[in-house]
Protein backbone atom coordinates (compact mmCIF):
# COMPACT_ATOMS: atom_id res chain seq x y z
CA UNK A 1 0.00 0.00 0.00
CA UNK A 2 2.86 2.33 0.90
CA UNK A 3 4.20 1.69 -2.56
CA UNK A 4 0.87 2.70 -4.03
CA UNK A 5 0.94 6.02 -2.22
CA UNK A 6 4.47 6.60 -3.46
CA UNK A 7 3.30 6.00 -7.02
CA UNK A 8 0.42 8.42 -6.55
CA UNK A 9 2.80 11.12 -5.31
CA UNK A 10 5.35 10.51 -8.06
CA UNK A 11 2.70 10.37 -10.78
CA UNK A 12 1.10 13.58 -9.65
CA UNK A 13 4.29 15.57 -9.25
CA UNK A 14 6.30 14.36 -12.22
CA UNK A 15 5.67 11.09 -14.08
CA UNK A 16 2.11 11.84 -15.08
CA UNK A 17 2.12 15.58 -14.48
CA UNK A 18 -1.19 17.16 -15.39
CA UNK A 19 0.28 19.82 -17.65
CA UNK A 20 3.56 18.39 -18.92
CA UNK A 21 2.48 14.78 -19.47
CA UNK A 22 -1.28 14.73 -19.81
CA UNK A 23 -1.49 18.17 -21.41
CA UNK A 24 -4.64 18.91 -19.44
CA UNK A 25 -5.71 22.21 -17.96
CA UNK A 26 -3.88 24.11 -20.68
CA UNK A 27 -6.16 27.14 -20.42
CA UNK A 28 -5.08 28.23 -16.92
CA UNK A 29 -1.56 26.93 -17.64
CA UNK A 30 -1.17 29.52 -20.36
CA UNK A 31 -3.57 32.28 -19.38
CA UNK A 32 -2.61 32.51 -15.71
CA UNK A 33 1.13 32.30 -15.95
CA UNK A 34 2.18 35.87 -16.75
CA UNK A 35 4.22 35.70 -13.54
CA UNK A 36 5.48 32.98 -11.24
CA UNK A 37 3.39 34.35 -8.38
CA UNK A 38 0.18 34.19 -10.41
CA UNK A 39 0.92 30.65 -11.52
CA UNK A 40 1.72 29.57 -7.98
CA UNK A 41 -1.45 31.07 -6.52
CA UNK A 42 -3.66 29.62 -9.22
CA UNK A 43 -1.98 26.24 -8.79
CA UNK A 44 -2.56 26.19 -5.04
CA UNK A 45 -6.23 27.15 -5.38
CA UNK A 46 -6.66 24.38 -7.96
CA UNK A 47 -4.88 21.88 -5.70
CA UNK A 48 -7.22 22.69 -2.81
CA UNK A 49 -10.28 22.25 -5.01
CA UNK A 50 -8.92 19.03 -6.53
CA UNK A 51 -8.12 17.45 -3.17
CA UNK A 52 -11.54 18.30 -1.74
CA UNK A 53 -13.52 17.20 -4.78
CA UNK A 54 -11.52 13.97 -5.26
CA UNK A 55 -12.15 13.09 -1.64
CA UNK A 56 -15.89 13.79 -1.88
CA UNK A 57 -16.31 11.86 -5.12
CA UNK A 58 -14.48 8.88 -3.62
CA UNK A 59 -16.69 8.99 -0.54
CA UNK A 60 -19.87 9.10 -2.60
CA UNK A 61 -18.66 6.88 -5.44
CA UNK A 62 -20.97 3.97 -4.64
CA UNK A 63 -23.99 6.25 -4.62
CA UNK A 64 -23.30 7.95 -7.92
CA UNK A 65 -24.73 6.02 -10.83
CA UNK A 66 -22.84 5.76 -14.07
CA UNK A 67 -25.44 7.76 -16.00
CA UNK A 68 -25.31 10.92 -13.90
CA UNK A 69 -21.67 10.81 -12.80
CA UNK A 70 -20.45 13.68 -14.99
CA UNK A 71 -23.08 16.20 -13.80
CA UNK A 72 -22.52 15.09 -10.20
CA UNK A 73 -18.72 15.50 -10.59
CA UNK A 74 -19.11 18.96 -12.06
CA UNK A 75 -21.57 19.83 -9.34
CA UNK A 76 -19.07 18.79 -6.68
CA UNK A 77 -16.19 20.70 -8.31
CA UNK A 78 -18.38 23.78 -8.75
CA UNK A 79 -19.55 23.60 -5.14
CA UNK A 80 -15.96 23.35 -3.90
CA UNK A 81 -14.89 26.26 -6.09
CA UNK A 82 -17.73 28.44 -4.82
CA UNK A 83 -16.86 27.46 -1.27
CA UNK A 84 -13.21 28.45 -1.76
CA UNK A 85 -14.30 31.64 -3.51
CA UNK A 86 -16.61 32.74 -0.69
CA UNK A 87 -14.25 31.74 2.10
CA UNK A 88 -11.29 33.50 0.51
CA UNK A 89 -13.30 36.62 -0.15
CA UNK A 90 -14.35 36.76 3.48
CA UNK A 91 -11.25 35.66 5.33
CA UNK A 92 -8.27 36.00 2.98
CA UNK A 93 -9.27 39.16 1.24
CA UNK A 94 -5.82 40.34 0.14
CA UNK A 95 -5.16 37.03 -1.56
CA UNK A 96 -8.63 37.11 -3.02
CA UNK A 97 -7.98 40.46 -4.67
CA UNK A 98 -5.07 38.91 -6.54
CA UNK A 99 -6.59 35.53 -7.36
CA UNK A 100 -10.31 36.20 -7.12
CA UNK A 101 -10.74 36.69 -10.81
CA UNK A 102 -9.33 33.27 -11.62
CA UNK A 103 -10.88 31.06 -8.99
CA UNK A 104 -14.21 30.61 -10.81
CA UNK A 105 -12.18 29.43 -13.82
CA UNK A 106 -11.14 26.29 -11.94
CA UNK A 107 -14.57 24.80 -12.72
CA UNK A 108 -13.80 24.83 -16.40
CA UNK A 109 -10.36 23.26 -15.90
CA UNK A 110 -10.49 19.73 -17.28
CA UNK A 111 -7.76 18.38 -15.02
CA UNK A 112 -9.95 18.00 -11.87
CA UNK A 113 -12.70 16.37 -13.90
CA UNK A 114 -10.24 14.00 -15.56
CA UNK A 115 -8.84 12.88 -12.22
CA UNK A 116 -12.30 12.40 -10.75
CA UNK A 117 -13.28 10.22 -13.68
CA UNK A 118 -10.02 8.29 -13.92
CA UNK A 119 -9.14 7.92 -10.27
CA UNK A 120 -11.51 9.09 -7.57
CA UNK A 121 -14.57 7.38 -9.05
CA UNK A 122 -12.89 4.00 -8.62
CA UNK A 123 -10.64 4.34 -5.58
CA UNK A 124 -11.14 4.66 -1.82
CA UNK A 125 -11.22 8.05 -0.12
CA UNK A 126 -7.66 8.37 1.16
CA UNK A 127 -5.79 7.52 -2.06
CA UNK A 128 -8.21 9.78 -3.94
CA UNK A 129 -7.52 12.65 -1.58
CA UNK A 130 -3.80 12.15 -2.12
CA UNK A 131 -4.20 11.84 -5.87
CA UNK A 132 -6.20 15.07 -6.02
CA UNK A 133 -3.72 16.85 -3.77
CA UNK A 134 -0.57 15.74 -5.58
CA UNK A 135 -2.02 16.15 -9.04
CA UNK A 136 -2.88 19.67 -7.89
CA UNK A 137 0.61 20.23 -6.53
CA UNK A 138 2.09 18.94 -9.78
CA UNK A 139 -0.14 21.43 -11.55
CA UNK A 140 1.18 24.13 -9.20
CA UNK A 141 4.78 23.20 -10.02
CA UNK A 142 4.04 23.32 -13.74
CA UNK A 143 2.28 26.68 -13.55
CA UNK A 144 5.00 28.17 -11.38
CA UNK A 145 7.68 26.93 -13.78
CA UNK A 146 5.90 28.33 -16.83
CA UNK A 147 5.22 31.57 -14.98
CA UNK A 148 8.83 31.88 -13.82
CA UNK A 149 10.27 31.44 -17.31
CA UNK A 150 7.80 33.87 -18.84
CA UNK A 151 8.33 36.40 -16.09
CA UNK A 152 12.12 36.29 -16.23
CA UNK A 153 12.25 36.71 -19.99
CA UNK A 154 9.19 38.91 -20.27
CA UNK A 155 9.62 41.43 -17.48
CA UNK A 156 12.99 40.59 -15.96
CA UNK A 157 11.61 39.87 -12.52
CA UNK A 158 10.91 36.72 -10.54
CA UNK A 159 8.10 36.33 -8.02
CA UNK A 160 7.13 39.99 -8.36
CA UNK A 161 4.20 40.86 -6.07
CA UNK A 162 4.82 37.73 -4.00
CA UNK A 163 4.30 39.83 -0.90
CA UNK A 164 0.76 40.65 -2.06
CA UNK A 165 0.05 36.96 -2.19
CA UNK A 166 1.77 35.61 0.91
CA UNK A 167 2.30 38.66 3.11
CA UNK A 168 5.07 41.20 3.63
CA UNK A 169 7.48 38.54 4.96
CA UNK A 170 7.94 37.31 1.40
CA UNK A 171 9.15 40.62 0.07
CA UNK A 172 12.64 39.10 -0.09
CA UNK A 173 11.42 36.61 -2.68
CA UNK A 174 10.79 39.38 -5.18
CA UNK A 175 13.78 39.48 -7.45
CA UNK A 176 14.75 41.71 -10.33
CA UNK A 177 17.02 39.77 -12.65
CA UNK A 178 17.10 42.07 -15.66
CA UNK A 179 16.95 45.88 -15.74
CA UNK A 180 13.54 47.45 -16.35
CA UNK A 181 12.36 47.57 -19.97
CA UNK A 182 14.77 44.79 -20.95
CA UNK A 183 11.91 42.29 -21.02
CA UNK A 184 10.65 40.65 -24.18
CA UNK A 185 7.03 41.64 -23.96
CA UNK A 186 5.86 38.80 -26.18
CA UNK A 187 6.62 36.30 -23.44
CA UNK A 188 3.96 37.86 -21.22
CA UNK A 189 1.45 38.03 -24.04
CA UNK A 190 -0.46 34.88 -25.12
CA UNK A 191 2.15 33.64 -27.66
CA UNK A 192 4.69 33.43 -24.84
CA UNK A 193 2.36 31.06 -23.01
CA UNK A 194 2.28 28.67 -25.94
CA UNK A 195 6.03 28.90 -26.54
CA UNK A 196 7.09 28.34 -22.96
CA UNK A 197 4.58 25.58 -22.30
CA UNK A 198 5.68 23.75 -25.43
CA UNK A 199 9.35 24.13 -24.64
CA UNK A 200 8.90 22.94 -21.06
CA UNK A 201 7.02 19.86 -22.28
CA UNK A 202 10.03 19.13 -24.48
CA UNK A 203 12.40 19.66 -21.55
CA UNK A 204 10.40 17.31 -19.37
CA UNK A 205 10.43 14.58 -22.01
CA UNK A 206 14.15 15.01 -22.59
CA UNK A 207 14.81 14.57 -18.87
CA UNK A 208 12.65 11.44 -18.86
CA UNK A 209 14.39 10.06 -21.92
CA UNK A 210 17.82 10.68 -20.45
CA UNK A 211 16.76 8.89 -17.29
CA UNK A 212 15.83 5.94 -19.48
CA UNK A 213 12.18 6.21 -18.61
CA UNK A 214 9.49 5.24 -21.00
CA UNK A 215 7.69 8.35 -22.16
CA UNK A 216 4.16 8.33 -20.84
CA UNK A 217 1.99 9.33 -23.68
CA UNK A 218 -0.64 11.81 -22.63
CA UNK A 219 -4.03 10.67 -21.54
CA UNK A 220 -6.09 11.01 -18.43
CA UNK A 221 -6.60 7.28 -18.20
CA UNK A 222 -3.01 6.20 -18.39
CA UNK A 223 -2.61 5.69 -14.64
CA UNK A 224 -5.75 5.39 -12.57
Amino acid sequence: MANDYKTIVKDGLWDNNGVFSMLLGMCPAMAMTTSATNGFGMGLATAAVMAASSFLVAVFRSRITQEVRIPVFILIVAAMVTLVDLAMNAWMHELYKVLGLFIPLIVSNCLPLARLEAFAAKQPALPSLLDGLFMGLGFTIALTAIGAVREIIGSGTLFADASLLFGPAFKAMELRLLPTDMGVLMMILPPGGFLVTGLLVVVKRMVDLRAGKEIQMGGAHSVA
Partner: protein, 288 residues
Protein backbone atom coordinates in the same frame (compact mmCIF):
# COMPACT_ATOMS: atom_id res chain seq x y z
CA UNK B 1 -56.35 1.89 2.86
CA UNK B 2 -53.54 4.17 1.81
CA UNK B 3 -51.02 4.41 4.60
CA UNK B 4 -49.12 7.62 5.17
CA UNK B 5 -45.77 5.87 4.73
CA UNK B 6 -46.68 4.86 1.23
CA UNK B 7 -47.35 8.42 0.11
CA UNK B 8 -43.82 9.07 -1.23
CA UNK B 9 -43.97 5.86 -3.23
CA UNK B 10 -47.30 6.77 -4.73
CA UNK B 11 -46.11 10.31 -5.35
CA UNK B 12 -43.04 9.16 -7.27
CA UNK B 13 -45.11 6.87 -9.43
CA UNK B 14 -47.59 9.68 -10.04
CA UNK B 15 -44.84 12.12 -11.05
CA UNK B 16 -43.33 9.43 -13.24
CA UNK B 17 -46.58 8.78 -15.03
CA UNK B 18 -47.43 12.45 -15.32
CA UNK B 19 -44.06 13.33 -16.85
CA UNK B 20 -43.98 10.27 -19.05
CA UNK B 21 -40.92 8.82 -17.33
CA UNK B 22 -40.74 5.09 -17.33
CA UNK B 23 -41.04 4.32 -13.70
CA UNK B 24 -39.96 0.88 -12.74
CA UNK B 25 -41.26 -0.78 -9.66
CA UNK B 26 -37.59 -0.87 -8.77
CA UNK B 27 -37.81 2.89 -8.33
CA UNK B 28 -40.82 2.64 -6.10
CA UNK B 29 -39.07 -0.01 -4.13
CA UNK B 30 -35.98 2.19 -3.77
CA UNK B 31 -38.11 5.06 -2.62
CA UNK B 32 -39.70 2.73 -0.16
CA UNK B 33 -36.23 1.88 1.08
CA UNK B 34 -35.43 5.55 1.32
CA UNK B 35 -38.53 6.29 3.32
CA UNK B 36 -37.75 3.37 5.60
CA UNK B 37 -41.02 1.61 5.20
CA UNK B 38 -39.86 -1.59 6.86
CA UNK B 39 -42.39 -3.87 5.28
CA UNK B 40 -41.63 -2.66 1.74
CA UNK B 41 -37.90 -2.75 2.39
CA UNK B 42 -37.89 -6.37 3.45
CA UNK B 43 -40.18 -7.52 0.73
CA UNK B 44 -38.20 -5.62 -1.87
CA UNK B 45 -34.95 -7.18 -0.73
CA UNK B 46 -36.53 -10.56 -0.94
CA UNK B 47 -37.80 -9.97 -4.43
CA UNK B 48 -34.39 -8.86 -5.59
CA UNK B 49 -32.72 -11.85 -4.04
CA UNK B 50 -30.68 -9.93 -1.51
CA UNK B 51 -32.26 -11.35 1.60
CA UNK B 52 -32.66 -14.83 2.93
CA UNK B 53 -35.50 -17.00 1.77
CA UNK B 54 -38.84 -16.47 3.42
CA UNK B 55 -38.43 -17.86 6.88
CA UNK B 56 -41.90 -17.59 8.21
CA UNK B 57 -45.46 -16.70 7.46
CA UNK B 58 -44.88 -13.02 8.19
CA UNK B 59 -42.22 -12.82 5.52
CA UNK B 60 -44.51 -14.45 3.03
CA UNK B 61 -47.26 -12.03 3.92
CA UNK B 62 -44.95 -9.10 3.34
CA UNK B 63 -43.86 -10.42 0.02
CA UNK B 64 -47.38 -11.00 -1.08
CA UNK B 65 -48.48 -7.54 -0.06
CA UNK B 66 -45.65 -5.73 -1.78
CA UNK B 67 -46.38 -7.64 -4.93
CA UNK B 68 -49.97 -6.62 -4.49
CA UNK B 69 -48.94 -2.97 -4.12
CA UNK B 70 -46.75 -3.14 -7.19
CA UNK B 71 -49.56 -4.77 -9.12
CA UNK B 72 -51.83 -1.87 -8.21
CA UNK B 73 -49.29 0.79 -8.93
CA UNK B 74 -48.13 -0.65 -12.19
CA UNK B 75 -51.59 -1.67 -13.28
CA UNK B 76 -50.71 -5.32 -13.61
CA UNK B 77 -54.01 -7.18 -13.85
CA UNK B 78 -54.68 -9.62 -11.05
CA UNK B 79 -55.11 -12.34 -13.59
CA UNK B 80 -51.42 -12.25 -14.58
CA UNK B 81 -49.13 -14.62 -12.73
CA UNK B 82 -46.67 -13.42 -10.11
CA UNK B 83 -43.74 -13.66 -12.55
CA UNK B 84 -44.96 -10.68 -14.56
CA UNK B 85 -44.74 -8.60 -11.40
CA UNK B 86 -41.09 -9.61 -11.20
CA UNK B 87 -40.64 -8.52 -14.83
CA UNK B 88 -42.14 -5.17 -14.01
CA UNK B 89 -39.59 -4.69 -11.25
CA UNK B 90 -36.79 -5.13 -13.77
CA UNK B 91 -37.69 -1.99 -15.77
CA UNK B 92 -34.86 0.56 -15.91
CA UNK B 93 -34.50 2.86 -12.96
CA UNK B 94 -34.54 6.04 -15.00
CA UNK B 95 -35.97 8.09 -12.21
CA UNK B 96 -33.33 6.94 -9.74
CA UNK B 97 -30.68 8.87 -11.64
CA UNK B 98 -32.75 12.01 -11.38
CA UNK B 99 -33.28 11.42 -7.70
CA UNK B 100 -29.53 10.92 -7.12
CA UNK B 101 -28.64 14.03 -9.08
CA UNK B 102 -31.35 15.96 -7.28
CA UNK B 103 -30.13 14.75 -3.92
CA UNK B 104 -26.59 15.89 -4.68
CA UNK B 105 -27.85 19.26 -5.90
CA UNK B 106 -29.89 19.66 -2.76
CA UNK B 107 -27.03 18.63 -0.48
CA UNK B 108 -24.38 20.84 -2.02
CA UNK B 109 -26.87 23.65 -2.52
CA UNK B 110 -27.47 23.53 1.21
CA UNK B 111 -23.74 23.59 1.96
CA UNK B 112 -23.34 26.63 -0.29
CA UNK B 113 -26.32 28.37 1.27
CA UNK B 114 -24.82 27.88 4.72
CA UNK B 115 -21.39 29.11 3.57
CA UNK B 116 -23.00 32.12 1.96
CA UNK B 117 -24.75 32.90 5.25
CA UNK B 118 -21.51 32.53 7.19
CA UNK B 119 -19.45 34.73 4.89
CA UNK B 120 -22.07 37.33 4.01
CA UNK B 121 -21.26 39.83 6.75
CA UNK B 122 -17.49 39.47 6.33
CA UNK B 123 -17.64 39.90 2.56
CA UNK B 124 -19.79 43.02 2.91
CA UNK B 125 -17.32 44.40 5.45
CA UNK B 126 -14.39 43.73 3.10
CA UNK B 127 -16.19 45.39 0.20
CA UNK B 128 -16.79 48.44 2.37
CA UNK B 129 -13.12 48.55 3.37
CA UNK B 130 -12.12 48.31 -0.28
CA UNK B 131 -14.39 51.20 -1.18
CA UNK B 132 -13.05 53.19 1.75
CA UNK B 133 -9.52 52.51 0.53
CA UNK B 134 -10.17 53.63 -3.03
CA UNK B 135 -12.07 56.69 -1.78
CA UNK B 136 -9.30 57.71 0.58
CA UNK B 137 -6.94 57.79 -2.42
CA UNK B 138 -9.01 60.32 -4.32
CA UNK B 139 -10.36 62.34 -1.41
CA UNK B 140 -7.59 63.69 0.83
CA UNK B 141 -8.29 63.27 4.52
CA UNK B 142 -7.69 66.98 5.10
CA UNK B 143 -10.80 68.14 3.27
CA UNK B 144 -13.43 66.15 5.14
CA UNK B 145 -14.55 65.24 8.63
CA UNK B 146 -17.39 62.92 7.66
CA UNK B 147 -17.32 59.39 6.29
CA UNK B 148 -17.83 59.68 2.51
CA UNK B 149 -18.60 55.96 2.19
CA UNK B 150 -21.89 56.42 3.99
CA UNK B 151 -22.69 59.92 2.66
CA UNK B 152 -23.94 58.88 -0.75
CA UNK B 153 -26.17 60.17 -3.48
CA UNK B 154 -27.66 58.09 -6.30
CA UNK B 155 -27.60 59.80 -9.69
CA UNK B 156 -27.87 59.01 -13.38
CA UNK B 157 -24.82 59.78 -15.48
CA UNK B 158 -24.70 60.90 -19.11
CA UNK B 159 -25.23 57.35 -20.35
CA UNK B 160 -28.23 56.91 -18.08
CA UNK B 161 -26.24 54.56 -15.91
CA UNK B 162 -26.90 54.79 -12.20
CA UNK B 163 -23.86 55.85 -10.22
CA UNK B 164 -23.21 56.36 -6.55
CA UNK B 165 -21.69 59.70 -5.62
CA UNK B 166 -19.71 59.83 -2.38
CA UNK B 167 -19.61 63.24 -0.74
CA UNK B 168 -16.83 64.64 1.42
CA UNK B 169 -17.98 67.29 3.87
CA UNK B 170 -16.24 69.56 6.28
CA UNK B 171 -18.39 71.28 8.87
CA UNK B 172 -21.42 70.10 6.90
CA UNK B 173 -20.37 71.78 3.65
CA UNK B 174 -19.59 69.61 0.63
CA UNK B 175 -15.89 70.02 -0.16
CA UNK B 176 -15.57 67.33 -2.78
CA UNK B 177 -17.28 64.40 -4.43
CA UNK B 178 -16.08 61.05 -5.75
CA UNK B 179 -17.72 58.65 -8.14
CA UNK B 180 -16.88 55.79 -10.46
CA UNK B 181 -16.21 56.48 -14.11
CA UNK B 182 -15.85 54.06 -16.98
CA UNK B 183 -13.62 54.06 -20.04
CA UNK B 184 -13.15 51.67 -22.92
CA UNK B 185 -9.63 50.32 -22.98
CA UNK B 186 -7.75 47.94 -25.22
CA UNK B 187 -9.20 44.83 -23.60
CA UNK B 188 -12.51 45.89 -22.17
CA UNK B 189 -13.87 48.31 -19.67
CA UNK B 190 -11.61 50.30 -17.35
CA UNK B 191 -13.23 51.25 -14.06
CA UNK B 192 -11.85 54.28 -12.27
CA UNK B 193 -12.64 56.32 -9.19
CA UNK B 194 -12.66 60.05 -9.76
CA UNK B 195 -12.42 62.66 -7.03
CA UNK B 196 -13.46 66.25 -7.78
CA UNK B 197 -13.24 69.18 -5.41
CA UNK B 198 -16.23 71.48 -5.03
CA UNK B 199 -14.53 74.04 -7.30
CA UNK B 200 -14.26 71.52 -10.16
CA UNK B 201 -10.56 70.73 -9.76
CA UNK B 202 -9.56 67.06 -9.86
CA UNK B 203 -8.54 65.66 -6.52
CA UNK B 204 -7.31 62.44 -8.02
CA UNK B 205 -8.03 59.51 -10.30
CA UNK B 206 -7.38 55.86 -9.50
CA UNK B 207 -7.95 52.69 -11.47
CA UNK B 208 -10.25 50.23 -9.72
CA UNK B 209 -10.29 47.44 -12.29
CA UNK B 210 -9.02 46.87 -15.80
CA UNK B 211 -8.03 44.07 -18.17
CA UNK B 212 -5.26 45.88 -20.06
CA UNK B 213 -2.11 44.13 -21.24
CA UNK B 214 0.33 43.48 -18.39
CA UNK B 215 3.54 45.38 -19.01
CA UNK B 216 1.92 47.84 -21.41
CA UNK B 217 -1.50 49.15 -20.51
CA UNK B 218 -1.23 48.40 -16.82
CA UNK B 219 0.97 51.45 -16.29
CA UNK B 220 -2.27 53.26 -15.50
CA UNK B 221 -2.17 51.49 -12.13
CA UNK B 222 -0.65 53.65 -9.45
CA UNK B 223 1.64 50.89 -8.25
CA UNK B 224 3.09 50.39 -11.74
CA UNK B 225 3.61 53.99 -12.80
CA UNK B 226 2.91 57.62 -11.92
CA UNK B 227 1.04 58.42 -15.14
CA UNK B 228 -2.33 58.50 -13.39
CA UNK B 229 -1.10 61.04 -10.80
CA UNK B 230 -0.68 63.86 -13.33
CA UNK B 231 -4.35 64.81 -13.32
CA UNK B 232 -4.59 66.10 -9.75
CA UNK B 233 -5.32 69.82 -9.63
CA UNK B 234 -6.42 70.06 -13.24
CA UNK B 235 -9.93 70.97 -14.33
CA UNK B 236 -11.97 71.91 -17.40
CA UNK B 237 -10.60 75.45 -17.05
CA UNK B 238 -7.04 74.24 -17.29
CA UNK B 239 -6.74 72.69 -19.83
CA UNK B 240 -9.97 73.40 -21.74
CA UNK B 241 -12.25 70.40 -22.47
CA UNK B 242 -11.05 69.90 -26.07
CA UNK B 243 -7.46 69.45 -24.83
CA UNK B 244 -8.41 66.53 -22.54
CA UNK B 245 -7.07 64.00 -25.05
CA UNK B 246 -3.85 62.10 -25.71
CA UNK B 247 -1.30 63.95 -27.82
CA UNK B 248 -1.95 61.68 -30.76
CA UNK B 249 -5.56 62.94 -30.83
CA UNK B 250 -4.53 66.59 -30.53
CA UNK B 251 -4.75 66.79 -26.78
CA UNK B 252 -2.08 67.59 -24.27
CA UNK B 253 -1.50 64.33 -22.42
CA UNK B 254 1.24 61.83 -23.16
CA UNK B 255 0.31 58.34 -24.17
CA UNK B 256 2.91 55.84 -23.06
CA UNK B 257 5.24 53.76 -25.19
CA UNK B 258 3.38 51.01 -26.96
CA UNK B 259 -0.02 51.92 -25.63
CA UNK B 260 -2.31 54.61 -26.95
CA UNK B 261 -5.71 53.02 -26.62
CA UNK B 262 -5.48 52.56 -22.85
CA UNK B 263 -4.64 56.21 -22.02
CA UNK B 264 -7.22 57.30 -24.58
CA UNK B 265 -9.83 55.24 -22.71
CA UNK B 266 -8.78 56.69 -19.36
CA UNK B 267 -8.86 60.24 -20.70
CA UNK B 268 -12.26 59.67 -22.25
CA UNK B 269 -13.52 58.47 -18.88
CA UNK B 270 -12.10 61.49 -17.06
CA UNK B 271 -13.53 63.85 -19.64
CA UNK B 272 -17.01 62.37 -19.27
CA UNK B 273 -16.57 62.39 -15.50
CA UNK B 274 -15.78 66.11 -15.56
CA UNK B 275 -18.69 66.75 -17.91
CA UNK B 276 -20.92 64.97 -15.46
CA UNK B 277 -19.63 67.21 -12.69
CA UNK B 278 -20.13 70.37 -14.77
CA UNK B 279 -23.68 69.37 -15.67
CA UNK B 280 -24.68 68.49 -12.13
CA UNK B 281 -22.53 70.85 -10.12
CA UNK B 282 -25.40 72.46 -8.25
CA UNK B 283 -26.87 69.16 -7.18
CA UNK B 284 -23.56 67.56 -6.33
CA UNK B 285 -22.35 70.36 -4.11
CA UNK B 286 -25.74 71.12 -2.56
CA UNK B 287 -25.35 72.52 0.93
CA UNK B 288 -21.79 73.74 0.46
Amino acid sequence: MLKLQRLPTVFVVFVGLATGTRVGAGDTAMIAVATKNPMLVRAWRRMHGFGVAARNDWHRTCEASVKQIIRRIMNVPDTLPAESVATVTQTPRTLMHGVILGAFCLGFGLVLAITDRLTLADIAARALEDRQNSLSQVIPAAIHDNNPVTDTLLMKDGRDKEITVYRARKDGRVTGVAYEIYGTGYAGEIRLMLGVAADGKLLGVRVLAHKETPGLGDKIEVKKGDWILRFSGLSFEDPPPERWKVKKDGGQFDQFAGATITPRGVLGAIRSGLEFFAANKAKLTEGS
